[in-house]
Symmetry: C2
Subunit: 322 residues, 2 copies
């Protein structure tokens, strides 16, 4: 690495004390004369402060640790885009924890030891251990995903989503519905909240609920099993990907139900027929997360905040009448 020019070098060249240079750099009072002199020199030597020294001195930095459960998901990258959108002088240190609680814990501890100035956690679920570690730390922290009491959080209004889908499905007047959900202990918002309104709308309509998984092949297999045993004219999946799995099974079984999914993904517009889907703007969620984070960071004594993001149902071909 090339020897970087330091504040000392600048001071020497300008023939002033380094404290003067420091003041100059940080907007303290300096005479017009020295200011001019330094303007030139700093530009000429392309001086940039050493961030380590700054951080060491100031006992803080502008790095925010961002924990992502996975990166191969449009929802996640949209949230990250939302963070970037509003960011000016923070640095996001993104750690992918591959949906693994142990890695998540390790990541949090590593970030803490790296003295990040805060944590933004895009998570599906917090384990008890992680909850404890987070609460013990004094770091400003904001989470996304689950409605965790005791944490500053941005959540999706999954209850409302279920209600809206419930209202809509009544209009479709299905005869037999397949619900493909996920284990609520793994993801309560998705596995439970999203289906409250749906189930209540299905009050007098026959339906079958199958708990499956976010993974495409598992969802596909679950759907196949259910659809081979029984005929459905409407399939509702906890996520778009799950619905795609069901579509593939239906295809091989020569069945042709209607479909409703959740989430905003590649899928809704790339599969045929295009998917009717309840969509949340994760981009907006990302922006909300960052706004909330700043609020929390800049205000020590703020009570726990809870921000709720609404979504909307986008009707596409997969629920057209046939």
């Amino acid at each position: 690495m090339n020897k970087k020019v330091t504040i000392n070098d600048i001071a020497l060249i300008a023939n002033v004390a380094k404290s003067t240079v420091s003041r100059y750099l940080n907007g303290g009072s300096v005479s017009a004369h020295t200011r001019n002199k330094l303007d030139g020199i700093v530009k000429k030597y392309n001086y940039t402060p050493n961030t380590f020294a700054q951080s060491l001195k100031q006992q803080t930095n502008h790095t925010i640790g961002v924990i992502v459960p996975r990166l191969d998901s449009i929802a996640q990258s949209d949230m990250l885009r939302g963070l970037d959108e509003l960011n000016i002088d923070d640095t996001f240190l993104i750690i992918n924890v591959y949906q693994d609680a142990a890695r998540e814990l390790a990541a949090i501890e590593k970030l803490q030891s790296q003295n990040v100035s805060g944590l933004i956690i895009l998570t599906a679920n917090l384990t008890e251990e992680i909850r404890t570690v987070l609460q013990a730390s004094k770091l400003p922290t904001v989470i996304q995903g689950q409605d965790e009491q005791g944490f500053n959080r941005v959540i999706m209004n999954d209850i409302q989503a279920g209600n809206i889908v419930g209202d809509y499905l009544k209009k479709l007047a299905p005869k037999n519905v397949l619900l493909l959900t996920v284990d609520p202990t793994l993801d309560y918002a998705v596995g439970h909240d999203r289906f409250v309104g749906i189930k209540s709308a299905l009050n007098d309509i026959p339906y079958k609920e199958v708990i499956t998984d976010f993974k495409l092949d598992i969802a596909k297999a679950s759907a196949y099993q259910a659809m081979a045993a029984e005929n459905f004219d409407l399939v509702i999946g906890a996520s778009d990907r799950i619905v795609v799995g069901a579509m593939q099974s239906a295809f091989s079984l020569h069945q042709n139900p209607r479909y409703i999914g959740f989430g905003q993904s590649y899928f809704s517009e790339t599969v045929t027929p295009n998917l009717t889907s309840f969509e949340f703007s994760f981009f907006e969620a990302g922006k909300a997360l960052y706004r909330l984070f700043r609020k929390v960071r800049d205000n020590e004594s703020l009570p726990i905040q809870r921000v709720v993001i609404a979504g909307e149902l986008t009707i596409r071909d997969s629920t057209s009448m046939r």
Copy 2:
């Protein structure tokens, strides 16, 4: 932030000099006695060194800047996964530059001023300006994507890919082929290299080439225009996503050609029919990148390295005889 315990605190508690503690921490020679004492204390007080102080002192750190052109791509996140896979004590500082050369340049400069210990750049194309900045810096740098002379690089063997697809398409004996390519000045490897072997295989077969874009809707429109004018029985797209666009256009035009794509994406297995596709393992590419990076970092005088990753053709339903 809670006052973190420092090496000084540990030294005081243990009643030794802080240099002894430092030696203990860094595997220097310490007596069994002090070692035992320190073992306990360090554990008890949960001491972790202040990374700023370390970095400041050592004039380097274990952070590697990683520049990604986009994050909403399976190829990119697979490469990042490859990096993570092999990583032990480095920290990746991932910056998404949204396929924007200005952002990319800014990111590089910011990373340099943050004193990262190296750069891994997953890029589609380097601008002249970026090339200059990178070459001026002494940072160990590894790039991926294009076969840039003068840079340590990991590239995909797109020439070979085109040859293999060329060989295969001859067996399909198509009557009229649609090639959906991209602008080679924007991505030479994809826009040019991938199609060399294909075009030479199409030597005596009629074909039409249309230059389109990686974006789904643009590809869809381009394909529509071409397919509305003329009938094709085989469509080859520069990427899977482009092929998906073509599929949708074919669907609305009630045409039913065969398809070949490139890349390893969600698409190949979620669209119907599943896509025959030439696939590269971006996960392996990520691992190769990191291996190469370490080699470059740990060996000052290494000549420029060039690593080539091969891929393979996976035949699925979209080219089945009909």
